[in-house]
């Protein structure tokens, strides 16, 4: 591939980085070890290093790793408590698991050559649907039919309420879609753009115009990379806080 590139000019495969494939052999079954498995396992290892080994000393004055672990804990805990109220705190471990998985996948995906598991709708949709089902079942279990009050906007004029109910119902069912596509789309778009700029970078080898284009594209890669670091965190945050918001609706549909 490399030889071909040099011989023939610029190559663009911005989507190649998202390909899922088995690491051993050719057969792809549900249980075969793929690059998805590899990078999810790396995420798990990172979580173990940071949250288990990093906190092993239980220092009163924390070191670097323990500080980060405490920071993440405090950040998500406060988010859950602030958004869902005190009775939402018991779901904190689930939400924290989601946050940690997404954050680590996003950041690991930024390593050159890495595979970004969260750039796949299959992955984000499963998480979003899990949240959706959990929240819906919890809503009915906690509030019974009062949960339907979520769709009956009692503060609106009576005539408008049925229309609003339809809109609310649609927006409720669109939740898992937007929830999952927001994350996957953000991760995919950023990585693809970086890859496109990266494909322009070797232009200097083929054309004199490359003297202008190559530095610009390298600059653009750096800028995009910085933005992607921000996006990696923000998308993890957004997914988590939306989960909290949905959970709050399930616990207190009156709001």
């Amino acid at each position: 591939m490399a030889a071909e590139t040099e011989a023939q000019g610029l190559t663009f495969h911005p989507m190649d980085q998202f390909k899922v494939g088995p690491l051993f052999g050719d057969a792809l079954s549900a249980f075969s070890i793929t690059n998805v498995t590899l990078w999810m396992a790396i995420a798990v290892l990172c979580v173990i290093v940071l949250f288990v080994l990093g906190t092993a000393k239980r220092s009163v004055v924390p070191g670097r790793m323990q500080s980060i672990a405490e920071l993440a804990y405090g950040f998500v805990y406060k988010m859950v408590e602030d958004v869902t109220g005190h009775d939402g705190v018991k779901y904190f471990p689930y939400i924290f698991t989601l946050f940690v998985f997404i954050a680590f996948s996003n950041f690991l995906g930024l390593l050159p050559g890495a595979f970004t598991t969260t750039s796949h709708v299959a992955v984000t949709a499963v998480m979003a649907v899990m949240v959706f089902l959990f929240v819906t079942i919890l809503g009915f279990a906690k509030n019974g039919l009062h949960f339907l009050g979520l769709f009956w906007v009692s503060s609106a004029p009576l005539a408008l309420r049925p229309i609003l109910a339809v809109i609310e119902l649609i927006s409720y069912f669109v939740r898992p879609v937007s929830h999952s596509i927001r994350l996957a789309g953000n991760m995919m778009a950023g990585h693809a753009v970086i890859k496109v700029f990266a494909a322009f970078a070797p232009l200097v080898l083929f054309s004199a115009v490359g003297y202008a284009v190559t530095p610009l594209s390298i600059l653009a890669i750096v800028a995009m990379y910085a933005l992607e670091i921000l996006v990696a965190f923000i998308q993890a945050y957004v997914f988590t806080i939306l989960t909290c918001v949905y959970l709050r609706d399930a616990l207190h549909p009156g709001h």
């Binding site: 495969h13 989507m15 899922v20 999810m40 396992a41």
Partner: protein, 194 residues
């Protein structure tokens, strides 16, 4: 499958063409190869491993990491609270000690005042005694002196009468008379009285 290779066939044609090709290729890749995200044959694999990962992560976090972190944070909070309490206690103790010190200072000052006034009174008493003694001595000496003056005076009077007698006798003898000692004495005494 997604290997849509764009070749800038003529390098000399320059960037405009290369950029055009690039844009084509980017669009082309998404269209013809399709996004790997929409390759449904990979879904079961991804979902399976995602669920495995989430379950593993959940157990690592919920059973080990989160209780430990909660413990660490609670410990720290407890430590901070107890340290603050301890600091308050020590502060109170320090204040108490300062109060005691001030009290001791006041006591010592009043004690010192007492001692000073006692000493002053003692000195005054000694002084009074000494003054009285000195006065008494002075009085005694004065009395003695007066007595001696009286004696001297008496002695002087006696001498005067003697001298007067002797002088009178001598005068009488010079006049050719024979002085009767008794009468001379009487005459001198009479004169001396007058």
């Amino acid at each position: 499958m997604a290997n849509t290779t764009t070749t800038a066939t003529d390098v000399a044609e320059g960037t405009a063409e290369a950029v055009g090709h690039a844009a084509d290729a980017a669009g082309h890749a998404a269209e013809s190869a399709g996004m790997p995200q929409l390759d449904f044959s990979t879904f079961p694999n991804q979902i399976f491993w995602l669920l495995v990962t989430l379950v593993v992560l959940y157990f690592i976090l919920a059973k080990i990491a989160l209780p430990r972190l909660a413990g660490i944070l609670a410990d720290r909070q407890g430590r901070i609270t107890s340290d603050l309490e301890m600091a308050q206690k020590l502060k109170d103790q320090a204040q108490e000690a300062e109060k005691a010190y001030q009290q001791a200072l006041i006591d010592a000052r009043s004690e010192a005042g007492k001692i000073v006034s006692a000493a002053r009174a003692e000195i005054q008493a000694d002084l009074d005694k000494a003054t009285a003694k000195a006065d008494a001595e002075i009085a005694a000496r004065a009395a003695e002196s007066a007595k001696r003056i009286d004696e001297i005076r008496a002695g002087a009077v006696a001498s005067v009468s003697e001298v007067a007698k002797d002088t009178a006798e001598a005068i009488v003898a010079a006049l050719g008379g024979k002085a009767d000692a008794k009468s001379v004495a009487a005459a001198v005494a009479a004169r001396m009285k007058g």
